[in-house]
Structures are given as structure tokens and as C-alpha cells.
Symmetry: D2
Subunit: 294 residues, 4 copies
Amino acid sequence: MTISVSAVRTTHWILTAQCPSRLGTVDVVTRFLREQGCYITEQQSFDDSSSCRFFIRTEFRPPEEGEFDAGAFEAAFAERAAPFSMAFELTSPERLTPVVIMVSKADHCLNDLLYRYRTGQLPVAIKAVVSNHPDLAPLAEWHGLPYHHLPISAETKAEQEAEVWRIVEDSGAELVILARYMQVLSSEMSERLAGRAINIHHSLLPGFKGAKPYHQAFEKGVKLVGATAHYINDDLDEGPIITQGVEPVTHADTAEDLVARGRDIECITLARAVTLHLQRRVFLNGSRTVVFQR
Amino acid sequence: MTISVSAVRTTHWILTAQCPSRLGTVDVVTRFLREQGCYITEQQSFDDSSSCRFFIRTEFRPPEEGEFDAGAFEAAFAERAAPFSMAFELTSPERLTPVVIMVSKADHCLNDLLYRYRTGQLPVAIKAVVSNHPDLAPLAEWHGLPYHHLPISAETKAEQEAEVWRIVEDSGAELVILARYMQVLSSEMSERLAGRAINIHHSLLPGFKGAKPYHQAFEKGVKLVGATAHYINDDLDEGPIITQGVEPVTHADTAEDLVARGRDIECITLARAVTLHLQRRVFLNGSRTVVFQR
Amino acid sequence: MTISVSAVRTTHWILTAQCPSRLGTVDVVTRFLREQGCYITEQQSFDDSSSCRFFIRTEFRPPEEGEFDAGAFEAAFAERAAPFSMAFELTSPERLTPVVIMVSKADHCLNDLLYRYRTGQLPVAIKAVVSNHPDLAPLAEWHGLPYHHLPISAETKAEQEAEVWRIVEDSGAELVILARYMQVLSSEMSERLAGRAINIHHSLLPGFKGAKPYHQAFEKGVKLVGATAHYINDDLDEGPIITQGVEPVTHADTAEDLVARGRDIECITLARAVTLHLQRRVFLNGSRTVVFQR
Amino acid sequence: MTISVSAVRTTHWILTAQCPSRLGTVDVVTRFLREQGCYITEQQSFDDSSSCRFFIRTEFRPPEEGEFDAGAFEAAFAERAAPFSMAFELTSPERLTPVVIMVSKADHCLNDLLYRYRTGQLPVAIKAVVSNHPDLAPLAEWHGLPYHHLPISAETKAEQEAEVWRIVEDSGAELVILARYMQVLSSEMSERLAGRAINIHHSLLPGFKGAKPYHQAFEKGVKLVGATAHYINDDLDEGPIITQGVEPVTHADTAEDLVARGRDIECITLARAVTLHLQRRVFLNGSRTVVFQR
């Protein structure tokens, strides 16, 4: 199967940065870009007075003449950023981010991500699909993707996670997408993946954490169900929220009906969060996130 | 000021009923209506297999000839309903339900309800506005409504609630609307008002119960805030949910911004729940509700 | 690949009926069901005073003892229905409705429908996928479905439609799903498929009919885009609307971005409409529809 | 009645600017602010390649020491902006923008705006309420606002508009809010108010332009109704859209029901658009708008 990358825009770059709040943080970025002859097409900045952190995201076109030297750009900007203790990243939207997708038995999110992947809507290079069950192997194989069936039990958890980590490291994956992977990651694993593992929880957090959230929702008699995409952290279902989605439900929906209805919301919410992350629109801000929506 | 009741429909009646699940519950209602020559314009029934309860709501037009005798109708139907242990209620949509509204300082929900009331969109007769603060008196007075300022403290709570109860009883109120009334009702009060007191909580329950839910939401970094209208019961913010509403928020919204943005959702959600209740579209079903939406 | 039908409920049946408005239409159905010892689990009826048409949908469980004889049921009910000129249909939710899906090049709706199909969420037997382009053959073939590539031009239209019709007839298809099939059906074809062909138009009708609705939307500068699922009729994009969905967009979205963002809404809206149709929740009511939502 | 302005933030300023696209437009703004010692709390910029226009909005805090001289700031920035043909505006969010509200008979939008006004949520100084009907005088008077009843007919239109214009001019109104004002403004009036008159149309434009959109929607059988807030221009209901809102409806909703349900959406949509405008988040971009949401 041919994977096509749809280049929606002409070549451009994304520069993101963050640092402690102080005077001059926007100017550091914009003045440098001006000097470099870079044309800013879109920019958003936010200064969080409660956390005293500054965040900025800039999309720009490099100068028309000559070849854009990303390395030189980064080296030069590093000098400007240093006095501000400003961390930054230069990204090309056309670059395919290496990812690993983790699943269990539910296939809807994987199916949705793979669809977007094969039609070029997700700028990723899927290095592997990892699962504690064998069920989703056919779907991965039809896409020509390696599938790792890594069963897990209380006794084998450490070894299984070590194997998962090996796959992540060896593949150079920069993002792990937990697409309804139903196992709880250990503290060590969560720490290793801090800021680069996105999970979809099938409820509107902080409501209905843990297992069987749709059944909890049914018992509670809520009139809305939803899903939350968040970065993994040490606490179960507590990581910084990226995006959430909702769907109205009625008294006539059984718990199984809620499960079925929730699938669409989970797919869309996870895909949105992953896309925002890949577009470098999401910044960790303590226990929260800053999201520069288009 | 003239309060006009907008009679949207020609004269018709609403018959609601519920009972334990068993064969023949729908037929009990429809056969009787047919015999009475009543014309059914809309009907919804639901049999809950988990709670083994049956619910039905029927809108009908009485026979064209003669005068409809509601009392005779009820007496005759009672005989049919008895073998099914079927509780029922016959209501006229044009009847103005006596209500008492309870508020504290926040005025948005009261303002919204009074607007709907004075333009005839809410078929209520507002008997009194009760508050533990004096702030909203002008708004009530402009509508020509009695305003009872009943301050409350830990020591005076029992007396204050006794006074509230006296007002409710004396006025014949059939519904108490807690429109951002910020005091927690005692168990006794909650029990007395079971099934006929609707509260608006400014969060998507079960998330963020208790005080300052918007501040809790801000700390948590959610990307959606909302409101929940529910019947009061003994547990704080735990009563059967009638309806919920949501609003997206961003990292740029401070806690005060969330408070401001949430007002619209609270108004709409409470108004919807009250309207559904007045239209007899809501049935208590254990800790949940059955809602026959239009 | 194994296609599994998820039997969410115990065995039950769906009886739908419609006729000219008159007294006794609900009773005709419920009395008969009572006599037959059928247990009504859910029922909705609506009497449209503007079109003078009555609609009813009932879900019921057959008597526990004995085998349910659908044919006998229908014959007996036909006698009751006749004096009311009542058309009715008895359906089993477990029955797989034969369908034909028509596509062109865009694959998102087909991908979505086939996912729901293979996971047993859509009670259909897909007889064929028909397209005027060859692009989507691999997707159909992976699902083991016959794919008919039927190119079309102004000159060959009549023949192509004749071939489409042959496929529909021979397969016994009861529903044709136009999943972003971009050709306009002729009047004859539309008439033949009246009430049993659902199309997804990628705009909020009546806005932006015809070609390139996202480009029209971009030019107009709307802040919401959407999709409309409707039955095909003789007028382009004018058929009775079943359901609609929306998505907010911004100034930063180019026309291509709108196309991309609209895909999710199109998939969900079409799937919802098809599901409602299969559940017999949708009734044609002149140029409109009656939809008995769960 | 006391009108309180809720000062949510510490003192800060808003600088907006726009000009033809070219290199260096962001830097012009940010470098100047840096030199002035101004602290940027939030900034958004967008370069529209299709219209070749650049837009930027910056919120900043002035230097802590000394008094901020807005006039000097503007004079100095004008010199920097001139070579870019950059139009700009410096605004204080605490400043109350003088407005005139125009209404006819429907009072829901006026009621909603006046509530927000009297509770300090809308930073406006309402100079007058103008109507072609007398009905809404009591509401305006309770708020202590001048009410001008200016009847209109085909013959008196020019004179009536002249009087409206006089009120707008004399009051120094910078924004005219057409809150369900049902008369069509003449070309001359539209031109005079270009970019500073916001209208709420009770449909999702471009669908259902003109009169009785809810009745049109009912006839069409749509499953969503909505409202569109837009700037007035010469074409009826064609002005640049600021924001839109939707509400689901069903077959059971009559045209009058749609009217009733639409009120909430109209109020919220209009209030949102007015708020965005007052926050200087909206820019005219040809027939469209750029909206920098929070």
C-alpha cells in the first residue's frame, strides 16, 4: 500500500519555545526571525501569570533565496535563547514523527489512526503496533506494520514493559499513542514517557476514572458521556489534559450502548490530541497544558 | 407588568404514569384513552429492564364534543391503573405550576428564569423568591414578586429551613427551583422536597462536586466546563440528573473566566430541566431519570 | 475475516406503522400487541397535525412460550390495520439488511462504514461496493466484498445507471448508501430508490448545495461547517433530511483544511443516519422526516 | 441601579494592527513593545496568503514604573507603522465603548445584553436603545437608559434612518448592535456603519436568509437551527460573519417551537460576537473575518 503524505502547505517551519516569564520573551523570537529573513505566517504566545511560564509557537517560511539551514538556524537561535533559559524546538510539518501505538483488544482508535495514517492526514511514521493481545494483528498487517504481541500479567509486567521500552527506544519513537491500551503503566514507564505518551480515557475526566467508565456513567445516570486525551504521568488518569469531547446519551442507552456511542468520541478526541501534539500546538504547563489551536 | 401565557397549542392534556414492569402496561393507558375518545398526539413509553419499572407519557386532545371532565377521567382511569399499581398524573400544559425560587447572590439563573416567566415561556406561578442574601430583591420586585430575605448561619439553619418550608407549604408550591442557592439543604429538607426540587450545580457531575467547582476545574486543567441540573436528594450534588450542558474552555481562561463562561450554560441547563419537569417529561428512576424529550 | 453480529439485546422485534391521522391509531397497535401477549419495551408515536399523518414505532418481546410466527403476526395485524389504511412493517433487529454502497474517490465514509460493518455494529449484509472509480477496490477487497468499477460519463450515464440498478436488483438490496458518491442520480434512478437511498452531502443544507461545498463555505467565511444525511429524491441535495452534524472552523482553515475537518462529521453523520434507518427510526413525512431517536 | 465594571485583570492594554502582507510585520509590533518596556501577556498573529493581509492582536502590561502615556505610545508607534501602511488601534479593556442598541419587538437579545451590561460583563456605555416599536421601553427604562421609539414605514424610512444616524452621531456611539432589529438598513446606512454594526440573524447563514427563517427551516425539515452574528454590509444578511451557534431540533418542533428554541442561541451568539468585537478580537478581512479567540 502506498502511504501518501499530503503536503497541504508550501514548505514552512514551526518554532516553539518556552521559558520562565520575563520581559522580552516574544521579542527574542520575533527579532531573530526578522533578522533571518523568515516570514511569520502564524504566531501565538501566552504568558501564564499563575505558573510564571511563557509559551510561544510560530509558523514561518524561510527566506526564498538560498537553502534553509536548520542546523545553523538552531545554533544561532540557541545563543539568543540561552539568557532567557528558553527551551525551543524547530520542526518541519512535513517530517514524519516516529511513533509507536499501543493497543489491547478494542480496535476503533487503532482503525481510526491507521486510516488517517494511510491517507496522509497524520504526519507519522508508525514504527510498531504493540499489544497485550493478538486480536488486532490483521489490521496492522494489512497496513504493513510490525505487530508485537506482548502478553502481560502481574508477574510478567516488568519484563513486558522492558520489552515495550526496547521497542520504543530501538525504533526512535518520539511519541507513544495509547489507543485504548488497557494496562496501567508503571511509574518508571510513565516517567520515561513523560510528555511523549498520549492516552485516551473513555470518560470526561476527572469523572469516572479507572475501569469501566461507561458502566460507572450508566450507574450514575449522566446525560453526557465523553472522552479525554491526556499525557501520561504517574497518576492513573491524572495526566495533563490535551482535549476532551462529549456525546449526549439518554435513559434508553444501556451500558453497552454507552460503550458503542463512546467509540466515535474516543476516536475523534484521540486523533485531535495526537494531531495537535504533532503540530507542536501543545505545551506542558505543570499539571495542565497550553494548546494553541488553529 | 403583564404576564402573558403563550398558548402554543390547542387545548390538550398530558397523562403520565409509571408502575412495576409487566405485560399490558401500555395497553392499560391507550385502551382507556381510546374508549374515552381521546386523540393521542404524542406518546413515549420506556420499560427499564434493569430497574423493572415502566414509564409512559401521553399527550392527547379530549373529545371535541362536550366538556372534558378531568375529575371523572382520573376516577375512571384509577380503576384501570390500580391492578397494575400504576401511579399516574393528569396535567394541563396551560396550568401554571406554583413554584418557589431559591437564590443566594449570583443572579444569572434568576434573571434568566424571570425573563422566561414574564414572556410566558415558563408555565409557572412564581409564589416567592427566597434568598439568604438581600442582593436580588430589586430584580424580584421589578417582577412584582415577593422576596424573602432569610439569612442563614450554622446556628440558625434549622429555623431558616423551617421558614423556607413554611413559605413552600403556604404557597402551595409544587416545585422548588434552586437557582444557584449556595446553601446545602439538610437531610430533612431534602427528603421533604424529594422529586420536586431542582438544583443547578455548576460542573459536569460527578466531577467537581462541592464548593468552587470552576476553581477546581481550573486547577485540573479541563478543556470543557459544564453544568448539571438534578433533583435534590440527601447526598450533596448526588441527586438524579435531569440534564447537562457543556462549554469548551482554554488555557487562557482564568478561574474567573470559567465562572463567567459557565453562567450561560448554567442558565440554559437549569431552564431546560425546569421546562422538561413542567412538561412532565422527567421521571425518577431510582438514582437516575427517564426523560422523554420532544 | 469473521464478521460478528453483536446481539446487544435479547430477541425482540420492531413494528413500525403509519397512516392518515384519525382517532384510534395508537390503540390499533397496542391492543393487538396486548392480545398477542407481546411485551412492549419501547414505543414512540407522533401525530403530525400539519401533514395529517400518524407514525408509530414499537419495540417488543414476543411471548415467552412458543415460537413467534412472524408471518401469522403480520397477517393478523394486516386485518386490524386495513380499516386505517395503515402501512406497517415488522422487522427483526438481528436481521442483516442487504445494502449496496456507492462511492467515488473519497474513502473516509466507506472506511468508516466498513469498520462498523466488520465489527458488527451495522446490521447489514453488504452485497456490493459500486464506484465510478477504481481507487477504493483494495479497501473493499480486504473486507471480501465485491467491487464494481463502473465509470461514467455524460454519454454513458444511462447505461451505467442501468448496470447499477441491475446490481441493486440482483442483490436484493433494500438500501443504497451513497457514501460520497459524487455523481448526480437521474430522475428515474432517484424515483426507483425513493425512501431507500441515503446520501451524505458535505454541508449544512440548505446552504452550499452542489459542488465543492467546502470551497463555497470558505469563500463565505462561515464559522461552522457540517454535513447532512438525507434520502435521495429528484432534486439535487433536496431530499428529506435525516440528520445533520456540525464542526466549528476558523479563519486559519483553508478550503483544504475544511475538507479535512469535514471528514469526521461526514462519517459520523452518515453512520448515524444509516443506523437510524436500519433501526426503523426514520419515517418519510412529505419533504421532511420523523425520527424517533433512542 | 449601580452598574459595576468587573475589573478581572490588572491594568493592561490591547494593541491591534493590520496591513498588507510583507516581511517584518510581526517584528514591527513586538520590537516596539520591547523598546517601550511593555510586557506581552498574549499575542496572536495571522497572515492571510489569499487576501495578502496581515493581522495581529497583542495584550500587554505597560512598564511598572511611571504613568503610561497612551498618546505618546500611539504617536511613536505611528512612525514605525507608517512604512508598512499599518493601521493600528490602542485600546484599554476597561474603557466602556459607547454603543447604541436597536430593537423591534422581540426582547430576548436586549434582555440578555442588558443583563450582561448591568452586571459589568459587557464593557459598554449604552447611550440609547432605539426601536421602531414601543414595546421594549419598560425594559430600557428599568435600566435607566434612553429609549427612542422611531416608527418606520416605506415612506418615512429615510427620515427615520436620519434620526437613527443623528442619535448614533450625537452619542458618539462606536458600535451599533442590531438585537433583532427587523428593518433592513438602507445602503447608505449600511455603508456609514460598515465595520461597526453587528446584526444577529436567526439562521445559519447562508441558509434561510430574509424573513421568517424559522418557518423556512421548519418547511425544509432541518435537524439543526442556529444563529449568525455578522457585520452589516450592503447586502441583506450577507455581511462578514463573526460567529455562529447551533441547536438540534426534531420533527416534533413546530415553527413556533423553533422560534422559541432559537432564542437562547441568538442571545448567546450575539453576546459572543459583541464581546469578541469589544475585545478587539475581530478583524474584517474582505467578506470574511479573522477572529483571535481567547
